[in-house]
């Protein structure tokens, strides 16, 4: 049987062999942890601690005001030694709480296991998820409790767990699925209960058949849950593309998956939900892959939030010569950082150090209209036209050509023989369109 997928996409070399077989190692907890107060999309949190405060592991140290906001917890016990504006792997500077680790690993009183998780009300599960500060761990960092909240006039018909991990180099999700399949399935059952949905799908790419098997075995006892194997293709793990592959439904531009009755969560998120519900532990650590051709010993780690990239790199044997870029996340959609002194945050799925080898060597050429970008675009856009509009600030034309539908997967740039930074132009176009919309005017001058 042909495996379900989506139209378009690319097949970059996966480089997953470097870490796929490496069991997850618990990373050393450093002496100082740097916990940014913005680890989710939405308004940043306000600090609930001041310099000199003693904090315990799992204690809430940041709380947000906005609707799409999430709590921040201390990931070790210790002393707050500073709250400073620091560089963040997301490409910006944000206030960061610095905690001196006292090595006592004392849990906060709020962290209590639940005696009978199967008796929890759906609303209570959402509350627990909110209190645990769980956000989407695939990289989008959308607060999970917001996702589970009921939306007027819609009903979730299927919960899809995303175990695709289509980004090259990354294997952290693969390892979770192999090592903690029970937790993932348990998390899925809580999510399904919280949204009142009977159908669950766990999607796994066909380069991880062992993980699919493990999950299948774990889910055997749970009715309504199936494991769907999808072909290896980038960006198979993109939310809308995955929904299409699993259900045949297309989420309209600008809409959320709930518009077609689907909820998508990362497998790591599901495991975190299970921990929060059963053990009461908030999200203070995550799985991630340290890899790339610029790292001596690529590995998968279980890392406390707030550990600096540099400390993980050191545990992996340090860098090799010629590292040009350090990427937070996968190399297709991750952001480069300018120093490895930035902390791991909830959305950091990997740290990839790249030497110049895989970057386009040649210069940028004019567009030769080869249309490879159009063929590759999973959103069925014409990236080259969008980039041309953005280049001459024709925002209105860009909006007409659906610039806002771009999912920024980077497939177009990967295939472009002229090495045009199409996505950056498109992002610029989106920014301008949003600014014009916010200004309440028709798109006009940028």
């Amino acid at each position: 049987m042909k495996r379900p997928t989506f139209a378009g996409g690319i097949h970059p070399p996966g480089h997953k062999w470097m870490t796929a077989a490496a069991p997850t190692v618990a990373a050393d907890v450093p002496d100082r942890l740097y916990i940014p107060l913005s680890q989710h999309i939405g308004a940043p949190c306000a600090a609930l601690v001041v310099v000199g405060d003693q904090v315990k592991k799992g204690q809430v140290i940041g709380r947000g005001g906005g609707f799409v906001s999430s709590l921040i917890h201390a990931s070790v016990s210790g002393t707050v030694v500073g709250i400073e504006v620091m560089e963040h792997p997301g490409g910006s500077f944000v206030p960061t709480v610095i905690i001196e680790n006292d090595r006592r690993e004392e849990w906060a009183e709020t962290v209590r296991p639940c005696s009978d998780p199967s008796a929890l009300e759906p609303a209570r599960i959402r509350e627990i998820v909110q209190e645990a500060g769980i956000v989407g761990m695939g990289g989008a960092t959308f607060p999970s409790h917001v996702k589970y909240a009921p939306v007027e006039g819609t009903q979730v018909e299927a919960v899809i767990l995303n175990g695709v991990e289509c980004e090259p180099y990354l294997t952290a999700d693969h390892r979770i699925m192999l090592e903690r399949p029970q937790r993932i399935v348990a998390g899925l059952s809580y999510i399904m209960r919280s949204v009142g949905c009977a159908r669950g799908i766990i999607a796994v790419e066909d380069n991880k058949l062992d993980a699919a098997e493990a999950l299948g075995a774990a889910a055997a006892s749970l009715p309504g849950v199936t494991v769907t194997v999808v072909p290896e293709k980038y960006p198979q793990g993109s939310e809308k593309q995955l929904i299409y592959a699993c259900t045949g439904k297309e989420v309209p531009p600008g809409a959320l998956p709930i518009a077609v009755g689907v909820l998508v969560n990362n497998v790591g998120t599901a495991a975190a939900v299970a921990d929060a519900v059963e053990l009461g532990t908030p999200l203070i650590e995550r799985y991630l892959t340290v890899s790339g051709d610029g790292v001596a010993r690529p590995a998968n780690y279980l890392v406390r939030i707030g550990t600096l990239f540099g400390e993980l790199a050191a545990q992996s044997g340090g860098y090799l010569d010629g590292v040009e870029r350090i990427v937070a996340g996968g190399p297709m959609m991750g952001r480069t950082v300018f120093t490895d002194q930035v902390p791991v945050v909830k959305g950091t799925s990997g740290i990839v150090a790249l030497t110049g080898g895989q970057l386009p060597k040649g210069r940028e050429y004019p567009c030769v209209r080869c249309a490879k970008c159009i063929d590759a675009c999973p959103a069925f856009l014409a990236p080259t036209s969008l980039a041309k509009f953005a280049r001459r600030s024709a925002w209105e034309e860009a909006e007409m050509a659906d610039v806002m539908s771009c999912i920024e997967c980077g497939s177009c740039v990967y295939v472009c023989p002229a090495a045009i930074p199409l996505i950056q132009y498109i992002k610029r176009g989106k920014q301008a369109v949003l600014a014009a919309r916010a200004a309440g005017t028709a798109t006009g001058k940028g």
Binding site: P366, R391, R392
Partner: protein, 191 residues
């Protein structure tokens, strides 16, 4: 029937009014920057062209010829066309201000659009009947619109092109027209 068919093919493709007869170059170069405007201009010219073709034919046939004042042809025709254009202009301004704005200064230029006068004169030279005059005028108008629309499509694409500074604008439009006209040579000898 065959005759009409030949007139159409010849006027639209082989002897395209712009690309091989060189009539109506001004609006061809001026209004071909945007597709929407070129469609409007094509429409306006077509309308004027067909009306003018019929009117001039009638005047020639029932006024100039019977009174043996054929030498007044140029004068009489230009008079008719000028009035007609002014009329169309007024109608457009009244009923479609956006179109009027888009066509801008080119509407009055239809008066001095040699395509209109040229086709009117060719109509008489070829001694067509009224039916053929209508078909002939309409086909030339279609040829004009076709060339204009194709040109504007190309020029919209050229907006992103890295054209040498001194070639931008009219020069590159002329070279494009040259290459289009070379492509249209492929139709020569058709039928």
């Amino acid at each position: 029937m065959q005759e009409y068919f030949i007139i159409v093919v010849s006027a639209v493709l082989i002897n395209n009014i712009v690309l091989s007869q060189f009539l109506g170059i001004c609006p061809f170069l001026g209004v071909s920057k945007k597709l929407s405007a070129s469609l409007g201009m094509g429409g306006a010219v077509s309308f004027v062209l067909v009306l003018a073709g019929a009117l001039t034919w009638l005047v020639q046939r029932y006024l100039l010829d019977p009174f043996r004042v054929g030498y007044l042809q140029t004068l009489a025709f230009i008079l008719i066309i000028a009035s007609l254009v002014q009329f169309v202009e007024m109608v457009l301004r009244k009923f479609s201000p956006p179109l009027y704005k888009a066509l801008g200064i080119y509407l009055p230029l239809i008066t001095t659009n040699c395509a209109v006068l040229g086709v009117a004169i060719i109509n008489i030279q070829k001694e067509y009947t009224l039916g053929k005059v209508l078909v002939h005028s309409l086909s030339h108008a279609a040829g004009f619109t076709l060339a204009l629309v194709l040109m504007s499509g190309i020029r919209e694409r050229l907006e992103d092109a890295d054209i040498p500074e001194s070639m931008q604008g009219t020069p590159i439009a002329l070279v494009t027209a040259a290459l289009m006209s070379m492509a249209f040579l492929g139709f020569s000898g058709l039928i």
